[in-house]
Symmetry: C2
Subunit: 168 residues, 2 copies
DNA sequence: TTATAATCGTTGCAAATGCATCGATGTCAA
DNA sequence: TTGACATCGATGCATTTGCAACGATTATAA
């Protein structure tokens, strides 16, 4: 991102072109979904790099770990619903973490289809190392946002809340 | 999606952040990088589903198409730099689009390492169909944001601009 | 009860992805 | 000019991903 070297600055508006239509009237930079995706990727990668380099943890791993560490007895489907992750992704992340000795799986006695995920002592120890990194990073982001933070949070809520289905 | 059934409502806001034992003091919902990622995925998927179902276009395809359609003669590395996409991803998306007859590749005569990507007539026609969908969707998002939009855009800029590297 | 449907977590599989590397081309300094 | 190095786009490869199954379990209704 952002290393245009031999690239001439975007002409941005020179395609006169035939069809009086779309071909030149759209600017990706003004497209909120795109800008949001780029921003999200940028932030996630900053943090993910640290997790990966220092702890060997991927983003799916991290999400599962955080959810389990804060949520008590959590099932895969809880993660799917609350962490915005495909269930197969959550399932595999959980299995990886179990294989690494960070997580345990138990059968839920009330509903034996469900799995209860919980941290092992090793998992707890890892989280104790991981969370300060996340908190430091969050403070960094807060600093970048400054007074915009409140509006930003509100906007994130607003944009996700889909009041009605977008016409198909 | 989002049908929490047997899941108790998230505690949401009760972090004493005693920092002593991280294992329960962190709330993913208060973590900006996460919220941003979820919002971005939500928005991208809403639009991507339409593109996929109606036009067989993936998000990487879409980004390449938009960039080519607005940017004139564009190389793969331009896309990498300006669309926040891995170059192999951009390269393969371009190849897919060429295979579908939507894009053309030419050698850049000035620098023969570069590829010039341009829309075929079929590609232009597709964009003429695609862009109104995107514009409608953008209006939908604007409606959701309302007066928050300005602050939201500013916040996206602020959060991405990493003034200095986060300590590694 | 029994039959039918729904849900949970896992897994097979094809496609997509990230990374490293390659050949081709270009740049630059000696 | 030559040689060392950089850049571009493509690709091999291992991993990850999304989706559609599946078996096991539970819920619902006849």
């Amino acid at each position: 991102m952002t290393a245009p070297r031999n690239t001439p600055p975007p002409p941005a508006a020179d395609l006169g072109k035939a069809s009086a239509a779309a071909s030149q009237s759209f600017d990706l930079a003004g497209f909120t979904a795109y800008r949001l995706a780029v921003a999200a990727q940028s932030l996630s990668e900053e943090l993910a790099r640290q997790y990966r380099d220092r702890f060997g943890i991927s983003i799916p791993d991290w999400r599962v770990l955080v959810h389990v560490s804060t949520g008590g007895d959590i099932s895969v489907r809880d993660i799917e619903a609350r962490v915005a992750m495909e269930k197969s992704k959550a399932s595999r992340a959980a299995s990886r973490l179990v294989a690494r000795g960070l997580l345990q799986k138990h059968v839920n006695d009330t509903d034996r289809r469900l799995v209860r995920l919980s941290l092992t002592p090793e998992g707890k120890a890892l989280m104790d190392a991981l969370l300060p990194v996340a908190e430091t990073y969050q403070r960094e982001i807060d600093a970048r946002l400054g007074p915009l933070k409140e509006a930003f949070e509100a906007a994130l809520d607003a944009v996700v809340a889909a009041p009605e289905k977008v016409p198909r």
